[in-house]
């Protein structure tokens, strides 16, 4: 066990997978000697060389497109988008090809690739660097979307993502990259994609979140317990697509109340899908309207206003109170 930041944990996952499997190739901008702008690939160029840690030209579409070619050939490319805000230039490659290759070829061709991308706000970044657009990917049939919430599960999920036979969008919350450290075992540890996790059991209401929003959600749960003696169940999604509906529904059947927290805009977002699944699965168990605490349906403002855009503990607690108080 060693204490690691999420950056170090992701680095460990990549290193260990590359040591095990020579089909694992990294490609992206500045991931070589520079180790990536967030240092996730630090030291990997030195260890594995430029042939497996590939610095690419500034061409997102090419990075994704090449990954598709490599994957079809039988490699397991892990490409890095420098910021998720730039991934849209590779969007059509994922939408038109990565997501469909298996389906179009009726299983003959597979695209076992991972696209890593830092997302989300909270680090006072300039514009185009703080978006949270996971819904785009989750809306695309054929893709899987994974978003870890801390060093340990980031490492375990990245390993699963690399080994997954299908294309996986792996969103990494910048705000978590170095926010805190966690014991991460040296020996291999992987987490099943498609499984959410109850990080804190409770009876009074269910709080559903993921990525960077998990911490404020947990803080809110603490406050609810201390101030109101309310025991909230907190669920960390970990995988957005495919969504672990069963776990969510089971929890809400138990609590009858749900608060969904994400920093992405509200409309047609993850929260909307989760809420619908809950209504489909637990309608007659609901005691109160489902609450969504999300970013607003605006462009995420430049960082001077970022704090008021991102869901915070108080906003989450208030939402929890609304669900608890509505009869």
């Amino acid at each position: 066990m060693a204490k690691m930041t999420m950056v170090e944990a992701l680095n460990l996952a990549l290193r260990q997978e590359m040591q095990k499997d020579d089909t694992v190739i990294l490609l992206g901008q500045d991931i070589g000697p520079d180790g990536g702008v967030f240092r996730v690939t630090d030291g990997l160029f030195a260890e594995f060389g430029g042939e497996r840690v590939v610095d690419t030209p500034l061409a997102e579409s090419a990075i994704v497109g090449m990954s598709i070619g490599m994957a079809v050939y039988g490699l397991r490319p892990v490409c890095e988008m420098q910021f998720s805000g730039f991934a849209y230039q590779g969007f059509h490659q994922l939408e038109n090809h990565a997501a469909r290759m298996r389906w179009r070829s009726q299983g003959r061709l597979r695209v076992p690739m991972v696209m890593r991308a830092p997302y989300g706000g909270g680090v006072r970044a300039l514009e185009h660097h703080s978006e949270s657009r996971e819904a785009y990917w989750a809306h695309t049939p054929g893709l899987k979307v994974v978003i870890p919430s801390g060093p340990r599960n980031a490492r375990a999920l990245l390993i699963s993502a690399i080994r997954d036979p299908d294309p996986v969008i792996f969103y990494e919350a910048k705000a978590l990259y170095r926010a805190f450290r966690e014991e991460v075992p040296e020996e291999e540890e992987s987490l099943a994609i498609g499984k959410a996790n109850i990080v804190r059991p409770g009876k009074a209401l269910t709080m559903i979140s993921y990525g960077a929003m998990l911490r404020p959600t947990l803080a809110a749960a603490d406050e609810l317990l201390q101030k109101d003696g309310v025991e909230a169940e907190v669920i960390d999604l970990l995988t957005l697509s495919p969504l672990d509906s069963d776990l969510l529904v089971a929890s809400v059947k138990k609590t009858g109340r749900a608060v969904i927290v994400h920093e992405a805009p509200q409309s047609f977002g993850t929260g909307a899908e989760i809420a619908t699944r809950l209504i489909e699965g637990a309608f007659y168990f609901l005691e109160a309207p489902i609450e969504r605490v999300t970013g607003f349906d605006t462009i995420i403002p430049y960082f001077s206003r970022e704090k008021s855009y991102l869901p915070g503990v108080q906003r989450i607690v208030a939402a929890a109170h609304r669900t608890l108080n509505s009869k």
């Binding site: 579409s61 090419a62 070619g69 298996r102 597979r110």
Partner: protein, 368 residues
């Protein structure tokens, strides 16, 4: 300090060996065995006849929309013929002849244009990608494949097809750039058929040629008479040879012409003159090649007549088999297959929903 001309990129050649009048540059004539010649001619003829057949079928409503290839047979066969089974073909959507030569069955083509997913199945052992509709998006896949082939220390090459329109897409440029940067073994075969639907080349680019774009990426390029199969063959042989020797990518611009409409649902009369089409008809590749082979005594009228008969028969049986196949295809539930390695829970549910729905409304949701 000062101002001085920089070294111009390597000069770009235009290659023509056999022109529309049948005159031959024997100095450049590639050395091709009779078998290969027969193979190529057969493939071109099959491509042509199958294209014509499909047009009939489309007009009879027996298949859906499709993009004819008429006039581009040489530019396709002259290059593809040089690929090994271990090599890769990354087609666009107007390379039926090339695909068939690589092993795609005519049934598969017919199924595809009749709206059956089965039409994009790649036969086992065939290292090709299915045809790709979003213009230029497939080009970059070739670079990825090439990168992997190189990483695996093979001498495989990847041949990617695209049209003149594609050269305006970002992916075209990203692909050529990356291929050159990584020196991947990719042959970029541009089918410059002068028209992207209704946009003539002049409106597509202000460049004098398309091939000159290669220079910008530090990549050798050559422009060939795309209707001169000997030129196409020679240029491709050179490029493939270079690629196998780790000499990196090559850009080949095949100057040819889309004699037919963009797709069967398009009416070219709206945007181009019959005169122009006529002008190009005279340059079309099949006759030219036919005469060349006859002159070389590789072909003779009776042989050709026999060949025509064979091909006609092949196509008929293919159509029959395809149409027979279609009767037992198209179970809607198949749409859930092959999306993921394992069907995730929410799709399982949706599949069950549709299953029930189908049970209730017999046949209603059936294909047709």
């Amino acid at each position: 300090m000062g101002r001085s001309p920089i070294d111009p990129p390597d000069p770009i050649d235009h290659l023509s060996i056999l022109d529309e009048h049948g005159s031959l540059d024997t100095g450049l004539e590639p050395n091709i065995s009779d078998d290969i010649h027969l193979q190529m001619f057969r493939a071109m003829l099959l491509g042509r006849r199958f294209d014509e057949k499909m047009l009939d079928l489309q007009r009879q409503g027996r298949i859906g929309t499709f993009p004819p290839i008429k006039g581009q047979e040489a530019a396709q066969i002259g290059s593809v013929v040089l690929l090994r089974d271990s090599d890769w073909l990354v087609p666009s959507f107007r390379e039926t002849a090339a695909e068939i030569m690589r092993g795609r069955s005519m049934e598969s083509v017919l199924l595809y244009y009749n709206g059956f997913n089965e039409g994009t199945i790649i036969p086992k052992g065939q290292r090709d990608l299915p045809m790709s509709v979003p213009v230029a998006s497939q080009i970059i896949h070739a670079v990825g494949l090439g990168w992997a082939a190189k990483y695996r220390r093979t001498d495989e090459v990847i041949m990617v097809f695209f049209g003149d329109g594609a050269t305006s897409e970002g992916d075209f440029h990203e692909a050529l750039n990356c291929a050159a940067v990584y020196q991947t073994p990719v042959i970029f075969v541009c089918q410059n058929n002068q028209w992207a639907i209704s946009i003539p080349l002049a409106k597509q680019t202000h460049s004098k040629t398309l091939v000159q774009k290669a220079s910008a990426y530090g990549m050798p390029g050559i422009q060939v008479d795309g209707n001169d199969i000997l030129a196409v063959y020679a240029a491709t042989a050179e490029a493939i040879d270079r690629a196998r020797k780790d000499g990196g990518p090559t850009f080949i611009e095949c100057v040819t012409y889309r004699i037919m409409m963009h797709t069967t649902s398009d009416d070219p009369k709206k945007y181009r003159s019959e005169a122009e089409v006529e002008h190009w008809r005279l340059k079309e590749p099949l006759i030219r090649y036919r005469n060349y082979l006859i002159n070389k005594n590789i072909l003779s009228e009776p042989v050709i007549a026999k060949l025509e008969e064979e091909i006609k028969e092949e196509i008929r049986t293919a159509v029959d088999r395809a149409e027979a196949q279609m009767k037992n295809l198209g179970a809607p539930l198949d749409m859930f297959d092959h999306l993921y390695a394992e069907l995730p829970p929410h799709l399982q549910l949706q599949k069950e929903k549709l299953t029930k729905e189908l049970a209730n409304s017999k046949g209603e949701a059936q294909h047709g």
